[in-house]
C-alpha cells in the first residue's frame, strides 16, 4: 500500500530481523577512498552491515582497518565514496550538508575518544548544545535530566577542567543522548580512560541500552570491554571479516576483569571465525 513511498528511496526495503526489529542502520557496499595526492587509500572496500533497533554492538579490528572511517560515515560526519546508507529508512548517503546537520542533531549521538568538550563551558551548557541547534525548548531542564541519568546531577556547573576524565566522558554521553537519538555511536569511548572509569562508562551504555532501548555502537580495542556487548563486528583491511553474537555478555561492574591474555583467549573462542588472535587489536 505504501509502495510508492518506498520507491522514492530507491525501492528500499527496510530490513527486519528474526525478532521483528527494524534496521536502524543499513549500509550497502559502502566504500571509502581517501585521495592523498596520487595515492589512493582504500579505507573501506565494500561493507554491508545491518544494525537493528536496540542492538548493542562493538566494532573491533587492528589499527588502520577502517573502524573510525566506518563510524564517521555511520555518524554522518563523513560521506561514503560509494554505496548506500539508510538511516532509519532514510537514504542519507546523498544528503546535503544542511540536511546532514539535521540528521546528526536529531538521530545520532556521537561520543569521541577525546571527549571534545568546549573549554570554559559548564557541563549544563555543553549538554544544552544539541538542543540549541535543534531549536528545542526547556533546554536547561532536559540537559539537567540527561546529566542526572549519567550520574552527574551534582556537577551541572562544573567546567571540563574541574572534572575527571571519566566524568568528562559522561558529560559527553549526556550530550549525545539529550536529543533522544535513535542511536549512540562511540569511537573508542574508553580509550582515554582507566579501567574503572571505562567500566563506569560501560555501565551507562548498558543501562541506556537495556532500559531505554537505545542502539549503541562503539569501537574498542579492549576485548573485555567488547564482551559487554551483544554483538561484535570485526574489520580488517576495510572489510567485515566476522560478525558474531555474544552468547553471554558481561554485566559491567559485576565481573572482575581477568588478565589480558585470558580475556583474549575467551573472546577468541567465543567469536572464532578462523583468523589469528592478533587480528583483534
Amino acid at each position: 500500500m505504501f509502495g510508492f513511498l518506498k520507491s522514492k528511496n530507491g525501492a528500499h526495503e527496510r530490513p527486519v530481523d528474526a525478532q521483528g526489529r527494524h534496521a536502524v542502520i543499513d549500509i550497502r557496499r559502502v566504500a571509502k577512498v581517501y585521495k592523498m595526492g596520487d595515492i589512493e587509500v582504500h579505507a573501506l572496500r565494500g561493507v554491508d552491515v545491518q544494525i537493528y533497533e536496540g542492538d548493542f554492538i562493538s566494532i573491533m579490528g587492528p589499527s588502520g582497518s577502517g573502524k573510525s572511517t566506518l563510524m564517521n560515515i555511520l555518524g554522518c560526519l563523513d560521506q561514503p565514496s560509494q554505496g548506500e546508507y539508510y538511516l532509519d529508512g532514510e537514504n542519507v548517503s546523498k544528503l546535503s550538508e544542511g540536511d546532514l546537520a539535521r540528521v546528526r542533531n536529531k538521530k545520532i549521538g556521537f561520543v569521541f575518544q577525546s571527549f571534545n568538550l568546549l573549554k570554559r563551558t559548564s557541563a549544563l551548557r555543553q549538554v544544552e548544545l544539541p538542543l540549541i541547534y535543534g531549536g528545542a525548548g526547556g533546554r536547561a531542564k532536559r540537559a539537567a535530566a540527561a546529566l542526572e541519568s549519567v550520574g552527574l546531577g551534582n556537577r551541572l556547573d562544573h567546567l571540563p577542567s574541574e572534572l575527571s576524565g571519566g566524568q568528562q566522558q559522561r558529560v559527553a554521553i549526556a550530550r549525545a543522548l539529550v536529543n533522544e537519538p535513535a542511536m549512540i555511536l562511540a569511537d573508542e569511548p574508553t580509550g582515554n580512560l582507566d579501567s574503572r572509569s571505562g567500566s563506569e562508562v560501560m555501565q551507562i551504555f548498558q543501562r541506556l541500552n537495556r532500559e531505554q532501548g537505545i542502539t549503541v555502537v562503539f569501537v574498542t580495542h579492549d576485548p573485555w570491554i567488547a564482551r559487554h556487548t551483544r554483538r561484535i563486528i570485526m574489520l580488517r583491511d576495510g572489510l567485515v571479516i566476522a560478525d558474531r553474537e555474544i552468547a553471554h555478555p558481561l554485566v559491567a561492574g559485576e565481573a572482575e576483569r581477568p588478565s589480558e591474555a585470558d580475556e583474549m583467549e575467551t573472546l577468541f573462542k567465543e567469536t572464532y571465525y578462523g583468523g589469528k588472535k592478533d587480528e583483534y587489536n
Binding site: 560526519l77 563523513d78 546537520a101 546528526r104 536529531k106 556521537f110 571534545n116 568546549l118 541547534y133
Partner: protein, 375 residues
C-alpha cells in the same frame, strides 16, 4: 571634529563686522619696485569723497605703534592701535558700561586717552575685573587717562590665536603725532590699515576696484606686481579658510579611512586565528547539529562585538580628547554630537561584519570530520 573646527573659524570671522575690506601696505611682488609708499591720511580723505569712490560708505583708519605701558600693578610692551572714532562701530568692539569709545573730539584734539582690553587691565592693575576708568597710566613715560575698557571678546582679529583682549586703543591722531613720527611725503600721516565699509554688500567688488584704481594712481603703480598695498575682502578670507578646513576634513577622513582599514584587517586577522584555534570546537558544534548559518552567525557576532568594543573605546577616547581640548583651548567648543556617536557605532559594526565575513565563512564551510581531526 573637522566640522566643529570649520564652524569655529566661520563664527570667528563673523565677529569682524560685515561687508568689510581691509586695505594695508604690503611689499610689492615684482622686483621692479622695492619701496613701499605708506597709505596716508590724505589718501583716506580722497577715498571718502563720493566722486572719487562712490561705493565706499565709511573708512575706519588704524595706525599701529609699539609702546611701553606702566600701570600701578605692572607694565607691558604692547602694540597700541591708533584708531579713528568710527572704528568701534565698523569693527564692532563695544565698550564696557562706565567707559566710552574714542570720540571725534578725542581724535581732533589728539587727546592722551586710552581704551584697554581686559588682558591689559589685568597686567597693569592686577585684576581683570578692575574698573580703571578715569585713572592715569604711563605710555612711553607720558601720562594717559583710561577712558574705557573693551568688552571681553572670545578671540578675534585676523590672527586666530591672538588674544583679542590684549589690545590698547588710542585716538589715531595721538598715535600719529605724539607716539610716533608718522608723517608721509604728501604732508599727511601714515595709516597702516583702512577698514573700508562699502555702501552695501553688492558694492564690495566695486569699492575694491575704486580703491585699487585710486591707490595705483596715487602711488604711481604701472603693473599689478608693483602694488605696495593689499586689499582683502572678508568674504575671500572666508572662502580660503573654507578651503583650508575642507582640506582638513578630507585629511581627517583619510586618516579615519586608513585607520578603519588597518583596524578591519586587524579584526580579520584576530578572527582567522580564532577560527583556526577553534577548529575542533567548530567540528564538535557541527557534529551535534550546527548548520552553516549557525557557525557563520556565531563568528560574525563575535567580530561585531569585537569591533563594537573598539568603537565604544574610540568614542570614549574622543570624548576625553574633546574635554581635554576644551580645557587647553577654552575658546574652542568641542562637542561629541550624538550623530558622531551613532555614526561611529554604525561604522564599527559594519567593519565587524565586513572584515569578519571571510573568517566566518571559512569556519562555516568546514567539514565536520576535517574540523574534528584537526590538531
Amino acid at each position: 571634529m573637522g566640522r566643529g573646527v570649520e564652524d569655529f573659524i566661520a563664527s570667528e570671522f563673523e565677529g569682524l563686522g560685515s561687508n568689510l575690506l581691509f586695505v594695508f601696505s604690503s611689499p610689492p611682488e615684482s622686483e621692479t619696485r622695492v619701496t613701499i609708499q605708506p597709505i596716508s591720511t590724505n589718501e583716506v580723505d580722497d577715498l571718502l569723497n563720493p566722486r572719487i569712490a562712490p561705493s565706499i560708505g565709511t573708512i575706519a583708519t588704524e595706525t599701529i605703534v609699539g609702546a611701553q605701558l606702566v600701570g600701578p600693578q605692572g607694565s607691558a610692551q604692547v602694540a597700541i592701535s591708533g584708531v579713528s572714532a568710527n572704528y568701534g562701530e565698523v569693527r564692532a568692539r563695544p565698550v564696557l558700561p562706565g567707559g566710552a569709545f574714542i570720540s571725534q573730539g578725542d581724535v581732533d584734539a589728539a587727546a592722551r586717552v586710552v581704551l584697554l582690553g581686559t588682558t591689559v587691565v589685568e597686567t597693569l592693575f592686577g585684576d581683570k575685573s578692575y574698573n580703571p576708568v578715569g585713572e592715569d597710566i604711563r605710555v612711553n613715560n607720558r601720562s594717559f587717562t583710561v577712558i574705557g575698557v573693551l568688552e571681553e571678546q572670545e578671540s578675534g582679529g585676523l590672527g586666530i590665536l591672538d588674544d583679542a583682549n590684549n589690545v590698547v586703543f588710542a585716538p589715531i591722531t595721538t598715535v600719529q603725532t605724539r607716539l610716533s613720527q608718522a608723517r608721509t611725503r604728501d604732508g599727511g600721516y601714515r595709516v597702516d590699515v583702512m577698514h573700508v565699509q562699502a555702501v552695501n554688500e553688492e558694492s564690495m567688488d566695486a569699492a575694491a576696484l575704486e580703491i585699487e584704481t585710486y591707490l595705483n594712481d596715487a602711488h604711481g603703480i604701472e603693473f599689478q606686481g608693483e602694488q605696495d598695498f593689499s586689499i582683502i575682502n572678508q568674504a575671500d578670507l572666508l572662502t580660503s579658510l573654507g578651503q583650508i578646513t575642507g582640506v582638513l576634513t578630507i585629511f581627517l577622513s583619510m586618516i579615519a579611512g586608513i585607520s578603519l582599514l588597518v583596524g578591519g584587517i586587524g579584526i580579520m586577522n584576530i578572527m582567522l586565528v580564532s577560527v583556526t584555534e577553534r577548529t575542533r570546537e567548530i567540528g564538535l558544534r557541527k557534529a551535534v547539529g550546527a548548520r552553516f548559518g549557525d557557525v557563520l552567525g556565531q563568528f560574525l557576532i563575535e567580530s561585531v562585538v569585537l569591533s563594537l568594543v573598539g568603537g565604544i573605546l574610540g568614542i570614549m577616547l574622543g570624548w576625553l580628547a574633546s574635554v581635554i581640548g576644551e580645557l587647553a583651548v577654552p575658546t574652542l567648543t568641542l562637542t561629541l554630537t550624538s550623530d558622531a556617536v551613532i555614526l561611529a557605532t554604525g561604522v564599527s559594526a559594519f567593519v565587524g561584519i565586513f572584515f569578519g565575513l571571510y573568517p566566518a565563512v571559512r569556519a562555516a564551510r568546514m567539514k565536520p570530520i576535517d574540523a574534528l581531526r584537526f590538531e
